[in-house]
Symmetry: C2
Subunit: 506 residues, 2 copies
Amino acid sequence: MGTESHAAKWEQFKQYVKKMKSYEEAIGLIYWDMRTGAPKKGIAARSEVVGDLSGELFKLSVSEEMREFIDYFSKPEHQEQLSFIDKRIVNECKREYDRSKKIPPERYQEYVVLTAQAESAWEDAKEQSDFDSFQPYLEKIVEFNQEFIELWGYEGHKYNTLLDMYEPGMTVEKLDQVFGALREQVVPLLAAIQASGAKPDTGFLKQTFDQEKQKKFSLFILEQMGYDFDAGRLDETVHPFATGLNPGDVRITTRYLKDDVNSALFGTIHEGGHALYEQNISPELLGTPLCTGTSMGIHESQSRFWENMIGRSRPFWSRYYAELQANYPGQFDGVSAESFYLATNEVKPSLIRIEADELTYNLHIMIRYEIEKALFDGSVKVADLLRVWNEKYREYLGIEPANNGEGVLQDVHWSGGAFGYFPSYALGNMYAAQIARTLDRELGGLDALVAKGDLHPIKAWLADKIYRHGKSLTPSEIILEVTGEELNPDYLVDYLREKYSDIYKL
Amino acid sequence: MGTESHAAKWEQFKQYVKKMKSYEEAIGLIYWDMRTGAPKKGIAARSEVVGDLSGELFKLSVSEEMREFIDYFSKPEHQEQLSFIDKRIVNECKREYDRSKKIPPERYQEYVVLTAQAESAWEDAKEQSDFDSFQPYLEKIVEFNQEFIELWGYEGHKYNTLLDMYEPGMTVEKLDQVFGALREQVVPLLAAIQASGAKPDTGFLKQTFDQEKQKKFSLFILEQMGYDFDAGRLDETVHPFATGLNPGDVRITTRYLKDDVNSALFGTIHEGGHALYEQNISPELLGTPLCTGTSMGIHESQSRFWENMIGRSRPFWSRYYAELQANYPGQFDGVSAESFYLATNEVKPSLIRIEADELTYNLHIMIRYEIEKALFDGSVKVADLLRVWNEKYREYLGIEPANNGEGVLQDVHWSGGAFGYFPSYALGNMYAAQIARTLDRELGGLDALVAKGDLHPIKAWLADKIYRHGKSLTPSEIILEVTGEELNPDYLVDYLREKYSDIYKL
């Protein structure tokens, strides 16, 4: 087949994948709208719209036409006519096609219905701290996932197939190694902190903070980070999130708590980090499946880099504390920037992951990782979960939930079948520390830039090294290209040890 | 074919049309979002999404599958198995199919591109009062429409085919009759008003009004009208509009002018009238092409009924003026409810349709109607438009535009090819007056209810007689069923004569 018809076929394929992105974007906007203020009486009909559009999108991803495109562009003689990016577009479509095509549609449909019911069952179960009522749903969800793993195939541990959905290329073998190294260091560090007897004063964080002022400060910090308000907006929701509809429309939400100045502040910076990623994807990837973050782990590395390594750093507050004080006149009189910094970094083992400090957060994730892995190699049953959960919290964090609602039922993920997702959060911390080290070296000192409020060069460096590539590079390619080595947990360990040894004077 | 397979085929058809409505709803939400606050850098990509979804919707409306459904359900032996509503669903799909199928896709595509360019050209032309630069676009648009009319076919006047798009069944023959009757009465009434020398004091309308207070009062009036805030929301845009995404999600927007209390107030009531219609469509029509207002004219009858016959009535202000005064403390001291009522109904010939009073508004519409009719029977050319426009304004309203921007270029409609739309506005006024007369009789006095602020029974009556039917009844069926007679302009004439004779003491 000649070059001309090859080009024509590629153009058809580009139009085809662009249409798929259009469905995704429309669905994304509908979800954003549902969460930010769609009238409640319209939700049932709107869900039908989502169902119809998702159904069409799924059909496009597994159609005969898609199979033909993939077959054609996978042939060596056609591959060699493709650019690097174009090959990756084909790969991504093939990945999606293979994954979707291997599941019988009727089984998938059953699974979708099950998880929809399970989420609702989970909500009730959590509220009533009643694991027993949720257990049968969870058992079925695990069974479905075991069946899907057999259909998809796996190498090594069965859980690898689930990990790969969220972090392409990630394996149990790798995670055992990096989480092992992390645990070895974090557990004694936590013990040392607890033994130190030091406890920062945090009382001044718990005043009443005017919501409009919180919003104003959130907007100010976003602007400092280089968030582009012509390509996004900030709204309020119960559960904060970021959504990249296209690089020119990346919206974030936050939550203003009356009695907690930090919730909206760090929530906004966190979602702002996700948003910087999506806003800075190269325009050449627009309308392709590569126009998104490369993985959950790399995405989370950016939210957590901005939230913790920038937002919870000493130079950040040496630069911005005066603005915070001015934003809340009188409310921080007599509180020094250093005191605010220390309070904002209090280490305190807790039962709730989403409120955890930077150090113990990783332990929360390891607990879930170990449980999920065990569920899929069969060494733990769903019926054992309650016991195992509580044992692990006692072991890692020295505390135990008073009830299942704040224990095994606290996270929504399992009700949706999102096994393999949790490790992304801790991977994000490790990636972030590793990337920060390189950034620090290449830009001649991260702290110095932050202390001057010079955040835009940081954003520009990250955009160039990571953001612009979207999904055209894999997570491991990115980490290798940017830092010169594979994922290495030592950077996070060093970062945590240095930061908390200083704070707790160890 | 047996009953069972008939039922199965109907179910397939229902799913098919539901999917079409899903596309419409998604597109509607995207437009709402674009107008209310989508970040500007995302608009180009979002337009591609609209293009892709609209393209799919169009394909569904003219597909081979649709043709088979229509053929099957149009057969007498299958028709008789359908309910009244189901027959109307088939009719509506057939109407859409026939209309779309008759235009060669490549000609339609050219036309879409042309109108997109024309709207942009119109914006510039209007700003610079430069009709010449817009003329070539308008000529092409008229030519396309003439071509389409030949393809669609027509009975009687060619313009009938365009009228039928917005007001099914409406004809030049009918409009000439009703507009003739209206003109015969309105023109001398206007002359009498102008000769009366009376001029209500309107100065107090032009103060500075706090935007938050305007919003609060708008929300209050909507709530009084029975607008359901669990099935809608109020936002702010430059050009106010209402959009019914589904009956549980009918959103309206308004515009707050700092120096004009009436713009947001009556704009909100107007859009609220549209919204009451869409919110009260019967749930049994959900997911069908009948789940919308039956025509532009009937829709406009509801916005204008609520805006003018309720909102600009004396009993309305006898009931709500105290609330208005309380909403703007001190700003209406010494202004009586009667003075406010009179000011709000000032008759004053103007060049701008959208700011016209209730009486002269109809003359603005007749001018456009006469011009459009003449464009399509060939008695007027686009090149003559400037002259004809100014002549007609002098004839009907006694004034002439100083420039084309406030003259022939004032409305966006023609740039989008929306010929046949304008008459809906005046039809709305006529329908509204006719319906109001029946309502008045059946509810034992409209004014008495309004004077008590008892607006919910009015809404309930309209919902029962009109709103719930959606598009399952035609405009002429509705007007006949509700009022017992066909469209009759005398009701509007009587209403106007009575109202303005009183106000201007004729």
